[in-house]
């Protein structure tokens, strides 16, 4: 009868892992990678924090060429918290703010997604703000690299409001499948490099 119990366990495990692999694993795998990424980040931050500051001033003009920017693209001001803290905690901050706004109607700018989007908006080649479907989008720089799907932009606007809006519904646009996590690796690498502190520019 041991065999029976064993096999039943295997059957249960198989079902459980099938569900896991379909729905949960992509997120978890991403989260794990993100953690590793953050650890690496923390280490490199310590080494070249001063380089960072210098670079950020210099790279401004190049940012457009690279198609991305690690600072505030619109205001040119500081982010609400130090970069290091933002990298580590932005998801928790947004999550907290999300519920405050949703349930309590608190609409302060601090950690509001709308404010993130408005400061970190990036202009594309045509001079208009790009959407999250563009791999050069600020958020995708890291998210693509660490394979964490951004759920925000299925519903939220991913760029500051464009005055005249044409089609709201585009039947040809497909949603990002939870299975397709990383899209454009090359663009990602460029974006990430720049986000990490303008190394590419320093070398040049």
């Amino acid at each position: 009868m041991k065999r029976a119990v064993l096999a039943m366990g295997v059957l249960g495990l198989a079902i459980f892992s099938a569900v896991q692999m379909t729905f949960v694993a992509p997120v978890n795998a991403g989260a794990q990678q993100l953690t590793e990424f953050r650890i690496a980040q923390a280490a490199s931050d310590n080494n070249k924090s001063d380089k960072d500051t210098k670079a950020s001033g210099k790279t401004k003009p190049d940012a457009a060429k690279l198609g991305t920017n690690h600072g505030s693209a619109v205001n040119g001001g500081e982010c609400i918290r130090p970069t290091k803290e933002m990298r580590k905690n932005h998801m928790d901050m947004i999550l907290h703010k999300r519920d405050e706004t949703m349930y309590k109607g608190i609409r302060t700018k601090d950690a509001s997604l709308k404010q993130c989007i408005s400061c970190h908006a990036i202009k594309g080649d045509e001079g208009t703000f790009i959407k999250a479907t563009d791999p050069k989008h600020f958020c995708r720089g890291c998210h693509d690299q660490v394979a964490v799907r951004i759920d925000c932009f299925d519903c939220h606007a991913s760029r500051p409001e464009v005055k005249k809006d044409s089609a709201h519904l585009n039947p040809h646009q497909k949603r990002l499948s939870p299975f397709a996590l990383v899209q454009d690796k090359k663009a990602t690498a460029t974006a990430l490099n720049s986000f990490l502190g303008g190394q590419a520019n320093d070398k040049k």
């Binding site: 029976a4 059957l11 497909k174």
Partner: protein, 397 residues
Amino acid sequence: MARIQFQTFRDHDNKFILIGALIALLVGIGALSALYMEHNGHIVTGMNNQIVWGMPHVFAIFLIVAASGALNIASISSVFNKKAYKPYARFSGLLAICLLIGGLLVLVLDLGRPDRLIVAMTTYNFKSIFAWNIILYNGFIAIVIVYLWTMFQKNLNGYTKYAGFAAFIWRLLLTMGTGSIFGFLVAREAYDSAIYAPLFIISSFVYGLAFTVLFLAMLEWTTGKNFMPKDIVRRFRGLFIVFIGGVLFFTLILHLANLYASQHHGVEEFLLVNGGNFPTIFWGGQIILGSLLPLAILASSSFGLSRRGLVLASILFLLGGIAQIYFILIGGQSYPLNLFPGMEVTQSGFSDGAIGHYSATMPEIMLGIGGLSLALLMTGIAVKVLPFLPKPWADEA
């Protein structure tokens, strides 16, 4: 009494493998359909803002109800101590779990955001019967696994009775919960009736038994051996007659109660007389094809007592069951909401007051069939791996 001998399923011919392959193919198509629906959104289905639940839900509810009914054989043997059903107790538990998983998978894959399944599992609103159902469904699987364990392991056999009793109560709650999804809808005239809970329970007995009979018949067909001795054919026939009688009784009461209140005359007239396909589906599908015809077959003292008669009746019961759920689900949603009692809507920007239109598309039908196939495939694999089935009986004269 001699101990019942169980064994893994063996000595079958290639037909079993062939059926398995065919079913696996359907599972694959179902999976692709789900992916397609997930990728494009519900625009590729026939479901819309009025008929919000469609074919996937017909299959899901059918399978979930059938699952709780499939456990019935085991309950009769452990709770009511009828020894004749004991050989089928393990299989009954297995079939219940597999049908439930198949049904749940269809339900989950039809969600607008199936990727948020984890939310459904972790965030509950306890006023919602749906939230309770999530707990009832998961709990059912857990309890039946324990129940099966007590049956499989010799030194735990003493607990089978208690586990069986727990499973029996749980399954009644589960079917009641499923029926109450409709019972608790105040706004829709076709629903909003407490009778849906007992109606679903009695219907579950029919569907579950029909699945059991058909699976056993398939085993017989692929091995040429005897899995349903004459005595059990006779008993199954008796159960069927009682159960379908119950379904007809509750269906009658449901409509009579509605017909008594003149405010419901509109919806009843729509469903039973002039509502497009629905009267046909009800009278032709559920009542004649799915209830009276199989009842007539079983009533015949020669054909009704034969294996063939039982199998044919089971097939008809299942078709009737699909028709019944389709009628309840789609028919009930098609009748417009009564926004202004006593008034008629002459114009609306959102099809108010209009009869709903629904035609199922291929992906959603295939998703439903995929779930059904998965349930059967899992059952087929499980009986090969573990001794769920009794040793075939010696051929009778």
